[in-house]
Chain length 352, copies 2
DNA sequence: ATGTTTGATGTGTGCGCACACACATTTGTT
DNA sequence: AACAAATGTGTGTGCGCACACATCAAACAT
């Protein structure tokens, strides 16, 4: 079925009428090969579609590949923890290949922390970067620097299409927003009002959230939505404040039948609904983090839209490995599936 | 972060005061080691948590692992094709590890074909088996034989819990049924009638389908369903016959608002609905095969419940590899996530 | 002319392991 | 007792490759 005899360097050497050293030089572009021999070896390589034995290569090579993972610091149970776990998993899977992964954390609410972190990286010792793309401008300038040094880098979470990233790993946020709308409108009529809660901590709203809103709105337009969307800004830690706001808006607009939050903090509204004992509001949020899972189980969150964070982390490292070690070209767009998680199926999520 | 100096066999040997040969014999249980040295080496192995360098091992070893994959033959675009693709992907990923995978196909509508296929396998040359569990009794007796020979085997698709399979890879069919019900009842009231179509080809109904029905019924009970379920048997290839039956039942019971099919053939009803231009029936089925995808896109299938067939195939081979090569113990239950696919998200499915 | 740099090429060693084999020791047999 | 068989133990080789090094010829400078 598979294998058979693989072609080795010695075979190539014999075929091309040179020594293994020459073949080696050609393969690794080390120079010091005459033009005649170079083409001769290249011809043979192409002819037999030579694929190096990675196992032997990895055993012989002393080269250690340094991959830097730059993501926000996270508290236990938060979204980025799952991405981080995916990275860990990949490290375990590829530990034999002389892989060294260093995780660097910045404060996602503090752009300066990201900036100083970037400044402190000694890029001379870095072979690849996995980058959480939260701060648009800084990511762009950093990308330019990586371009200049020819260090491959992969974006995770949300994409910045203009840049020369080797790959983007994540979901299509626009579609993610459409799906939220689609789910909501299974439960409510197009005349019902909808609450959209934003969770503010700093002034900035993430690109993700913006794109999701766009997708959501696109869906509303497509079904000729007749209701009204109300927006509230909640605080990540001030529950009393949030409850006041939510009480007010629900009282003022009794026609609100659904709520949506475009980041992973749906539990803030979910816990409110639980406290007020209201199951008449269809709440849809994003990302299966612990607090959301609990509320999904109890029925206060209708559905969560998940983007397989562990797989994101895993694939990020895997792609960099394949690029660095295999030297292989890979597709530069790895849109991951968008999962719809409900009470029944969330438990099985992310086996990988 | 990771790596550092790994402990090698020579290190172990030095620590235990023996030669590498002795350590090797202990590691591989080849015998010919005195009790004293055995325990001494074992102690050291445990102490340092020795983890063999799989890269070196694989390079040195000439042993080829033969894995046999036994699944139904499939036409292009059918369900088992996706499982097969997952197997292929795994073969590619692990090709360096002296892996030989042989796929054997049987006729899923002909038990005898499965039986004769099993009989012809020369088990002496087989190191692991991935087995599609369609024919209960034959799978059981074959499993006994594999037990006797201590050949690890993995079930794929549906489980037979009594057996000593190394692992089962697939979804929880019961939950799969519940989810179908859950989705339907977002669109219909609990007074509406439901059509359940079975696709007959042989008399047998799959365990999968039975379990899904159980889960579906459990959900009906839980919500105190007031409507009526009608069952029809359709033919896989006789469209005219199917249309007559469907016309009749829909005419006779206009209160039917939804339909469910517990295998991958939802397209049979979906195509009927398309032909009759009816979008008022909520149709839910299983598995993202080509024909279903088309109807999902066009809106004649409301949702598909997917069981990540490619991942099933991939993980099946991967688990066997890890067991054979790593010799590692692995969890014996690998329930995969159940995906809810709708028009918006099906396109991204199964990137892996 | 002789030394010196430079480029082109081949050879040798070791990565960590599996496994064959040589050798040493004990046990069993008549 | 002698000698075979079984059991214990260490050494050596090679898997396919990367990379340091040795070799050798040609080009250049003094």
């Amino acid at each position: 079925m598979s294998n058979c005899k693989e072609i080795r360097i010695v075979d190539i050497a014999k075929m091309a009428g040179v020594s293994v050293g020459t073949v080696d030089r050609v393969i690794h572009n080390r120079g010091r090969v005459s033009a005649a021999n170079y083409t001769r070896v290249m011809t043979v390589l192409k002819e037999v579609d030579y694929r190096p034995n990675m196992v032997a290569r990895s055993l012989a090579s002393k080269k250690v590949y340094h991959i830097v993972v730059i993501i926000p610091a996270y508290a236990p149970g938060e979204y980025w923890e799952y991405i981080s776990r995916g990275v860990d998993r990949a490290v375990e899977d590829f530990r034999q290949y002389h892989l060294s992964v260093t995780k660097l954390y910045f404060d996602q609410f503090n752009e300066a922390s990201f900036e100083s972190l970037l400044r402190d990286i000694k890029l001379d010792e870095v072979d690849g970067v996995l980058l959480g793309t939260l701060f648009y401008d800084l990511v762009c300038s950093f990308s330019k620097e990586l371009d200049a040094r020819k260090i491959p880098y992969v974006y995770v979470d949300s994409d910045i299409p203009g840049e020369r990233r080797m790959a983007f790993i994540g979901t299509d946020s626009l579609v993610g927003g459409q799906i939220a709308a689609r789910i909501l409108f299974r439960n409510i009529t197009k005349e019902a009002d909808i609450l959209m809660a934003r969770i503010v901590h700093t002034g900035a709203e993430s690109t993700q959230a913006k794109n999701r809103l766009s997708g959501f709105n696109a869906y509303l337009t497509s079904i000729d939505y007749k209701g009204c969307m109300y927006r509230v800004d909640l605080d990540l830690s001030d529950d009393r404040h949030n409850y006041e706001i939510l009480d007010a808006i629900f009282h003022e607009h009794p026609n609100i039948k659904a709520a949506v939050i475009f980041n992973s903090k749906a539990y803030i509204v979910g816990e409110y609904l639980k406290n007020r004992n209201r199951k008449d509001i269809s709440l849809v949020g994003y990302d299966l983090i612990e607090k959301n899972a609990q509320l999904l189980e109890e029925g206060y969150i209708e559905a969560l839209i998940d983007q397989r964070p562990r797989m994101q982390g895993y694939m990020g490292v895997k792609l960099l490995c394949e690029r660095l070690i295999l030297n292989g070209e890979i597709g530069n767009n790895n849109l991951l599936p968008i999962d719809i998680l409900i009470k029944e199926n969330y438990k099985f999520s992310e086996t990988y």
